[in-house]
Structures are given as structure tokens and as C-alpha cells.
């Protein structure tokens, strides 16, 4: 049996279904992210695991124990909030020791644990400071240390990096992953940032409108999206209208030019099939054994590591991402170009 299990869990608020028939099994030590847009039910699901919301239906078990209706203070589950939720009237040391005091841990052990946790997040010098004296990133590290101090069975993180600026966010997510792996703690992470989810997780749960769209490793989610929603939500995707679809041969016509697509990647296809392809799969120039199309460059956008071209294939616009190099020669707007991509990189949706 899985360490953490959610079976047929749903949550209804009034007439709104926030989470619908949610099933998930998480192994001990695993890092699972809930990824989805605002209002998709990811935070509600996390809060049900934490005990802050009671499921309308379903069962939640943790380490073979049914915790569905247990109150939050009985679950021994650590939670890190988006807004840090540090107690402003307590010093950093007092914040970290709060959960241990609630458990009536001997004073000597509390001190040892506080020092250990502060060492883990590299903030030993700040033990006597108040939260307002720390930066947002430091406060969130303390919140993490506080949640870990109680040796929780599961660590829940509710968009912990959303309130931080981009650079700190990148630093802190590395820190979170390092700490999670060091402690081997089972972790559920809620985010709407796909990069965060893909980088941190062993598995990603993509959610939409209260339902689980797909669950898989980051590579599976990105390379083999099972629904159009997942394909569009995770990463950039060209969705192009095609005609004369021949599923047997694996061919179709895109902007008057024949294209071969990946037949093996079978997904439910809509009545008017479209061709899906990631921008980074496309190259400028002819490639042997690849689909080759002619077009005209509309715009060239320099994004740093990547240069994004918008190419007009004759009424159909397509994005192509080129990796930037120092000596890269870029086409200019208006240039006629040939683009190519392998057949296994595109599929019908």
C-alpha cells in the first residue's frame, strides 16, 4: 500500500465542485507536485491532506492510518504557506520551537533541534531576530525549518515561492529539493509554475477544473501530454490546423505542404484534428529525414537563452525556438526560410 493515498476524494463548496474524484498514491520519500492554473483545485486537495478542509467524499490514508477526518493538529503533517505565516510576535528561534513546545518536547532537545534546523537552512545567525527583520526568502526558509522541526510524516508546500522575486525563487527551489532529498521526506508541492514543478518533482499531477488531467514524471508530462490541456499548459506548443489527415500513413497537409506525424503517440483526437509541435523541435534549414516546410519570418524575438521566431507558413503562424549562441546568424523579419522537424516530434490532437 502506498505511503500516502487519496481515494475517490472530492470536495464541494456549495454548488461548486472544487475537487472531483481525485485518486493518488504517493510513495515514501517521493516528491509530487500539483500543477495547474488558479482555481483548478490543487490547493484544496493539499488542504484536505493537511486537514484544513474535510473531503465531501473519499478517503485519505497516511502510513496505513485513515486520516480523512483527523484534525490538523493530530496528523503530524508539516505545512509551508505561500505567505510564510511566521508568528510575528516570536523570534525565529521561538517560531521553530513552537511545534516542539506543543509536543511538550524537553527544553534541551528543543534547543538542539532549533540549532539543527537553522543549520539546515543556513540561517544560524538569525535565531534572535523577528520575522520582519528577515527578507522574504529568509522568512520562507524559516517557515520550512519550522515545518520540518516537528519531523512531519509528510511535508506540504502551498505555492511557497510565489511571493518571492525570480532570482530568490530559483535559489530557494534548489534549496527545497536539497533539503527534501537530505531528509528523505515525502513532499507534496503545489504550484502553478511549470518550470518549478518539472524541476523539483519525481512526479507531477496536472490538474484542471478540479480533475486530475495527467500524472507522470516530468519528462512524461512534457513529452507525452495525454490531453490537449496538458500539452498547452506545460511548455509552449504550436497547435496548427491540418487537412487530408491519413492516420494509416501518418500524414497530413499543413498549409499546403505534406507533413508526417507520430502515429505511435495515440491520443484522443478531436473532430477537426490539429497538429501539435513544440517550438524547440523546429530547426531552421533542411534536415535529412525530417518534415521540411517553407515559410516567411514574421518576427524575431530575442529572449536571452532562446530566440523565438514567428514563421508564416502561408496563412498558418508557427513559433520556432532557436538556442542562442554567441555567433548565431539570425534570419530577419521578411526572410524566406525553410524549417524542419522530425516526424516523431509532432502528433495529432
Amino acid at each position: 500500500m502506498a505511503y500516502l493515498s487519496l481515494s475517490n476524494v472530492s470536495k464541494v463548496f456549495g454548488t461548486t465542485t472544487a475537487v472531483e474524484d481525485f485518486n493518488l498514491e504517493v510513495e515514501k520519500g517521493e516528491f509530487v507536485s500539483f500543477l495547474g492554473p488558479s482555481g483548478c483545485g490543487k490547493t484544496t486537495t493539499l488542504r484536505m491532506i493537511g486537514g484544513f478542509e474535510m473531503p465531501t467524499t473519499g478517503v485519505i490514508t497516511l502510513d496505513t492510518e485513515d486520516i480523512t477526518y483527523q484534525s490538523p493538529n493530530q496528523r503530524n503533517v508539516g505545512m509551508v504557506f505561500q505567505s510564510y505565516a511566521l508568528f510575528p510576535n516570536m523570534t525565529i528561534g521561538q517560531n521553530i520551537s513552537f511545534g516542539l513546545q506543543a509536543r511538550k518536547t524537553p527544553e534541551k532537545e528543543i534547543k538542539k533541534k532549533v540549532d539543527e534546523m537553522l543549520g539546515l537552512v543556513h540561517l544560524e545567525k538569525h535565531i534572535h531576530k523577528y520575522p520582519y527583520q528577515l527578507s522574504g526568502g529568509q522568512q520562507q526558509r524559516i517557515a520550512l525549518a519550522r515545518a520540518l522541526a516537528i519531523n512531519p510524516r509528510v511535508l506540504l508546500l502551498d505555492e511557497p515561492l510565489s511571493a518571492l522575486d525570480a532570482k530568490i525563487r530559483v535559489e530557494l527551489r534548489l534549496e527545497i529539493r536539497r533539503i527534501q532529498q537530505t531528509m528523505g521526506i515525502t513532499t507534496i508541492y503545489v504550484t502553478h509554475d511549470q518550470e518549478e514543478a518539472l524541476m523539483l518533482s519525481d512526479r507531477v499531477v496536472v490538474m484542471s477544473q478540479g480533475r486530475m488531467e495527467q500524472i507522470g514524471t516530468p519528462a512524461e508530462i512534457y513529452n507525452y501530454p495525454s490531453t490537449e490541456f496538458v500539452a498547452q499548459f506545460v511548455g509552449q506548443l504550436n497547435i496548427l490546423p491540418v487537412t487530408q489527415v491519413n492516420k494509416k500513413d501518418g500524414t497530413c497537409v499543413l498549409a499546403g505542404q505534406q507533413v508526417k506525424f507520430d502515429q505511435s503517440f495515440e491520443r484522443s483526437i478531436s473532430e477537426t484534428p490539429r497538429l501539435a509541435i513544440r517550438p524547440e523541435e523546429i530547426q531552421i534549414g533542411i534536415g535529412e529525414g525530417r518534415n521540411t516546410l517553407k515559410g516567411r519570418v514574421e518576427t524575431v524575438m530575442f529572449l536571452g537563452a532562446v530566440v523565438r521566431l514567428r514563421v508564416d507558413l502561408g496563412g498558418v503562424m508557427l513559433s520556432a525556438d532557436l538556442f542562442n549562441e554567441r555567433n548565431i546568424t539570425l534570419p530577419r523579419a521578411g526572410d524566406e526560410v525553410v524549417i524542419s522537424f522530425p516526424e516523431h516530434s509532432c502528433w495529432l490532437i
Binding site: 486537514g51 490538523p72 493538529n73 508539516g78 504557506f81 508568528f87 510575528p88 511545534g99 520582519y132 515545518a147
Partner: protein, 303 residues
Amino acid sequence: MSSKQTFIQNNKRDAPRARPSSSGWRNWIVVAPFFLFTLLFIVLPSFSLLTRAFLDNNGKFTLLNFAGLFEPSILSAYWVTIRISLATAVGGGLLGFLMAYAVTVGNLPRAVRTGLMTFSGVASNFAGVPLAFAFIATLGRTGLVTLLLKSVLKINLYDQGFNLYSFWGLTLTYMFFQFPLMILVITPALDGLKKEWREASENLGASHSMYLRKVALPILLPSILGSMILLFGNSFGAYATAYSLTGGFINLVTIVIGSQIKGDILYNPGLGYALAIGMVVVMSVMMAIYYFLRRKSERWLRQ
């Protein structure tokens, strides 16, 4: 002139003007009524009070007015006033806090909060003769509630020791405007308690009482203290309600000041001014205590 210079000149001419900053004097005009009001009705009267407290009825310098403050009847007036103010500040403060807590942090329906806030807005301003009359009509010797209790439940309040025209009767009457005032001033502070603090506390294994003791109350303490000082001041300066209800039977400082200035038998305005200065001193002491406690309780706030 080169074309570049021409461009710069044109550019200067065409550049959008910076948003004009409001003239300083206009802002001062807007706040001038406040300063005028402060000068006319706070600074000048205070100055007048201070100087007249040192003058006798003939306009000559004297310290007798201040010596009069130490007469037993005057000291007793201060003591009664302080006791009533403390009782209503603590009683009204606690009652108001609990009610505000129930409608903000508690899970009562939103309509209860709306109703309570509306009532508080009205009741906190209901004082003076109308309030005294309302209490006489309900809890006076022949008041509606008194008679109802007597006829229905066979309880005679006045035989049980209750007297509306006594210290506790007046305290009860003051409570009518004190607890609604507490509700009005403490509610924003209670709204400021983050839900995440309670959730984090529960998540860390704390009971609700531990959360209250270690998180919620310490965070609210500065606001509670501030509100109670406001209640103390509100009661300390009350005159019309007490006078209308007891007719001067209870020896409050405000009533003594009134009788010294109105000039019945006890006409001695100099003593009245000294009494008023004494009230300022008492309030200053209370403010100093409040300031000390607040500093102690909110070390954790950004200074």
C-alpha cells in the same frame, strides 16, 4: 546649428511635461481647519485652563485651587471616577472583545456581524440624557424590566441590592455605550489576524488555547490595551449621563467641576479648572502606562 542640436531642441520642446506636483500651500490650506480647530478648542482652552487654575476669584495668583484637590471629597471624587472608568473599560472592553471575536474570527453568519456593527455604531453614540432616561424607564424603581421581573419571576431587583442610582447602576449604564465602542475599535484588529497563523499553529500540533495564548492574544494585546484606554477616557470624561441619572448623587469629578463652574452654592471656578488639570494628569498617567505596556508588548513590530 547642426541637425543634432535642432533635434535635441525639438525633443525638449516636444517632451511630455512631468506631472505637476501639487503646490505645498494648497495642501496646507486643506489641513488648515484641523490646525485652527486644534488651536481654538484644544490648545487655547488648555492654556486658559492651566493659567486660570492658578487664579482665585479675584484674578490673583494662588495655589489654593491645587491645594483643594487634596480635600477628602475631591480625592473621593477622583477615586470614584477612576473606579467607574476602570470598571467600564475592563468590563466593556472584555464584553466588546468577546463579541467582536465571535463575529470576526468565530464562525457566526455574516448577517450577525452586520447587525452587531450597526448596533454598535448607534449604541456607542447613545449617551447623556436619552441614555439615562432609557435606563430609568427600564431598570429604575418603576422601570419596565424591574416591574416585569417583579410580577413574572417574583424577583425584586431593588430588594436584592441593585440600585440604578448607585456606583454599579451607573457602571451598568455606561457599559451600554462602552462595549459597542470596544466592538467598533477592536474589530479591525481582529480582522487583521491572519487565518494562516491559526492554521500554522494547528498544523504544528498546537491546541486552540495554545494558539490564543501564544499567538493571537500577544498580537492583539497592543490593540486591546489601546482600545481599553480609549474606553477609560470615554468614561472618565462623561458628564451628562451621570448627572441625568444620579443628579449629582454620585460624586464624579466631572459633576464636581460642573458644580464649581455653574455657580450654585459651590462657586469656585479656580478649583474647577484645577480639577480639570487633575483629570488631564490622570489621563496622562494612564497614557504613560499604556505607552509602556504597548512598547513592551509590541517589541516585535517594525519600529
